[in-house]
C-alpha cells in the first residue's frame, strides 16, 4: 500500500474527502516548487523603458510569477505582457512585461508617462516547473 500525506482544510474529513479543492496538501498531487525568488528596483525616466534580466540556471523555460509597484505607493500589480499606454494600470502609467527563455527571466519596465519618472519595485518567484 502506498503511503500518502494528505491535509484537509478545516471541517473536511481527511479520511473521506475526495475533492482536491478541499485539501491543503495532497502528496498524490504535484505542487509548484520555488527555484529562486528575488526583488529589485529600477528608475525609469518618462517615456522610456528598460529591461532587467536574471539568470535562472535551469536550462529550460520556467514558470514565473511577478508583481510590481511604484515605490511611491503600495498598490501591487501582476506583470502583464504588452499593454497599450492608454490602458495602463490603474493609478500608474507604467507596466512590467515578463518573459522567459532557457537562460534568463526578463522584466521589461515600460514608463508610458510623458512627464513622470517612476521607480519600480519588482518581486518575482521562479519555479522549477516549466517547459
Amino acid at each position: 500500500m502506498a503511503i500518502v500525506i494528505k491535509i484537509t482544510k478545516p471541517t473536511y474529513n481527511v479520511l473521506t474527502e475526495t475533492n482536491p479543492r478541499n485539501f491543503i496538501f495532497d502528496s498524490t498531487l504535484n505542487h509548484l516548487k520555488t527555484s529562486s525568488s528575488g526583488s529589485f528596483e529600477r528608475t525609469v525616466t518618462a517615456g522610456n523603458s528598460t529591461t532587467v534580466y536574471t539568470a535562472h540556471g535551469l536550462g529550460y523555460k520556467p514558470l514565473v510569477l511577478a508583481y510590481f509597484r511604484s515605490t511611491t505607493n503600495s498598490n501591487w500589480f501582476i506583470t502583464m505582457t504588452q499593454i497599450e499606454p492608454t490602458n495602463s494600470r490603474r493609478g500608474i502609467n507604467c507596466n512590467v512585461e515578463l518573459y522567459v527563455d532557457s537562460t534568463n527571466v526578463y522584466f521589461k519596465i515600460n514608463n508610458y508617462d510623458a512627464s513622470v519618472t517612476f521607480t519600480i519595485e519588482v518581486q518575482y518567484e521562479i519555479f522549477f516547473e516549466g517547459s
Binding site: I5, Q82, E129
Partner: protein
C-alpha cells in the same frame, strides 16, 4: 489542540518561525495543487488551441507562449506570460487564455500575419478554482 504539519526553510526554527514565507510547508496555508500541465503548439493560421481539463469548474491557470512578432507570422524566441493585447492603427496582436469549466482556449495571433509560423508554449492547470 489542533495538529499542524510544518516544514521550515533552512536557518528557520520550525517551532518559533511565524512568517508563512519561512516555511516550505505549513498546514494552515493551502498550496496550489497541479491538475495537469503540458506543452502545446499550433500553426499561426489556426489562431488557437483548446486544452481539455474536464474539471467542471474554472481552474486557476498559468500560460506562457511565444508571440507572433511580425506580418510574416514569425514567432519570438522567448515565451511571454499570458495575456496581452495591443491594438495599433493598422494591426492588432494578442495572446489570450480563456478559461472555461471544462476547457482552456489559448489564442495567439496577429491580425496581419501571413500565418506561416508555429506558436509554442506551456501551461499549468491547478485543482484550485478561480472564485
Amino acid at each position: 489542540m489542533a495538529i499542524k504539519i510544518l516544514v521550515s526553510k533552512p536557518t528557520k526554527n520550525v517551532l518559533t518561525a511565524t512568517s508563512p514565507d519561512d516555511f516550505y510547508l505549513h498546514s494552515d496555508y493551502p498550496l496550489l495543487k497541479i491538475h495537469s500541465f503540458g506543452t502545446f503548439s499550433f500553426a499561426v493560421a489556426l489562431e488557437s488551441i483548446t486544452i481539455t481539463h474536464s474539471l467542471g469548474y474554472r481552474p486557476y491557470t498559468l500560460v506562457f507562449s511565444t508571440a507572433v512578432i511580425n506580418d510574416a507570422g514569425d514567432v519570438s524566441a522567448e515565451m511571454y506570460q499570458h495575456d496581452w493585447f495591443v491594438g495599433g492603427v493598422s494591426v492588432m496582436w494578442w495572446g489570450q487564455t480563456r478559461i472555461y469549466i471544462n476547457t482552456l482556449i489559448i489564442r495567439v495571433g496577429e491580425s496581419n500575419a501571413a500565418k506561416g509560423g508555429m506558436v509554442t508554449g506551456f501551461y499549468y492547470i491547478f485543482k484550485d478554482e478561480v472564485i
